[in-house]
């Protein structure tokens, strides 16, 4: 019974952590626009937090550069279970235009388990809200 209440409450109050692994800042700007009052992802109960130790939803943007790779896996392991990972933008999904460069190791799903993929370069704020909304159905 208590676990059901906890999972119900968790679904209605997910905390976001925004992790940039070497973007051009396009997806970052769109993700921040999704938090502003015009689009307002906080309607779903989300809140942006500053530490991965508080987070339920990890939003990953950017092709994973070689320097960010080690830190990325470390931050993923710091987030408590249960957690969902949302990969935002073409770079986080497969490298996008940076695929094939020797400075990046593209594809966030190569390093951690990714739950929701949001394609686009960059995706619209509504598309990001849609991705987070679909991620909440996996959060149990």
């Amino acid at each position: 019974m208590s676990s059901r209440i906890v999972s119900w409450a968790r679904k209605r109050s997910p905390w976001l952590y925004h992790l940039c692994t070497g973007t051009c800042n396009g997806c970052d700007i769109e993700l921040l626009a999704a938090i502003t009052p015009k689009f307002d992802v906080e309607r779903l109960g989300c809140q942006l937090v500053g530490s991965p130790r508080h987070a339920d939803v990890l939003c990953i943007t950017g092709a994973v550069t070689k320097k960010a790779k080690e830190r990325f896996v470390r931050i993923y392991n710091q987030a408590p279970e249960p957690k969902v990972v949302v990969a935002i933008g073409a770079c986080a999904l497969s490298g996008g235009v940076f695929a094939g460069s020797k400075q990046v190791d593209p594809g966030a799903d190569k390093h951690v388990k990714v739950d929701v993929y949001v394609p686009g370069c960059p995706p619209r704020p509504q598309a990001i809200i849609d991705g987070i909304y679909k991620a909440l159905e996996k959060l149990k």
């Binding site: 307002d40 309607r43 497969s94 490298g95 235009v97 695929a99 394609p119 598309a127």
Partner: protein
């Protein structure tokens, strides 16, 4: 006094927040979203795959026989097989370059999914 008037007027206005997941949002004209491919129109020139900046378009290889004045010629054509949405950057170059309008970008934008999406026949 001006500020007070504006504040009072704002009390009766609708909130500007878009209620997106409940109410579908409109996209502007010319928005580049999900592709629509007309496979039967494709002539296999291979221009879209050559031009694609992120190599999202996968082309096949086929041998086509053409008859010109009783002589049979064999021509290699490259028909479009699939578009990988996880690689695509939605620049719209494939739509612009296609001579027979076999690729069209629609205004669909909510493409988030639990797996990497691939558009194919």
């Amino acid at each position: 006094m001006k500020v007070l008037k504006k504040a009072l007027l704002n009390l009766f206005k609708k909130p500007i927040t878009s209620q997106y997941p409940k109410i579908p949002s409109k996209t502007p004209k010319g928005f580049r979203g999900k592709h629509k491919i007309y496979f039967e129109k494709c002539t296999g020139c291979g221009l879209c795959g050559m031009l694609c900046p992120s190599n999202a378009i996968k082309l096949g290889k086929k041998i086509k026989k053409i008859k010109v004045k009783k002589l049979e010629h064999r021509v290699i054509i490259h028909p479009i097989l699939s578009i990988d949405l996880s690689k695509c950057i939605f620049c719209g170059l494939c739509q612009d370059v296609c001579p027979v309008n076999a690729i069209k970008l629609t205004r669909k934008f909510d493409l988030a999914d639990y797996h990497k999406t691939l558009i194919q026949k």
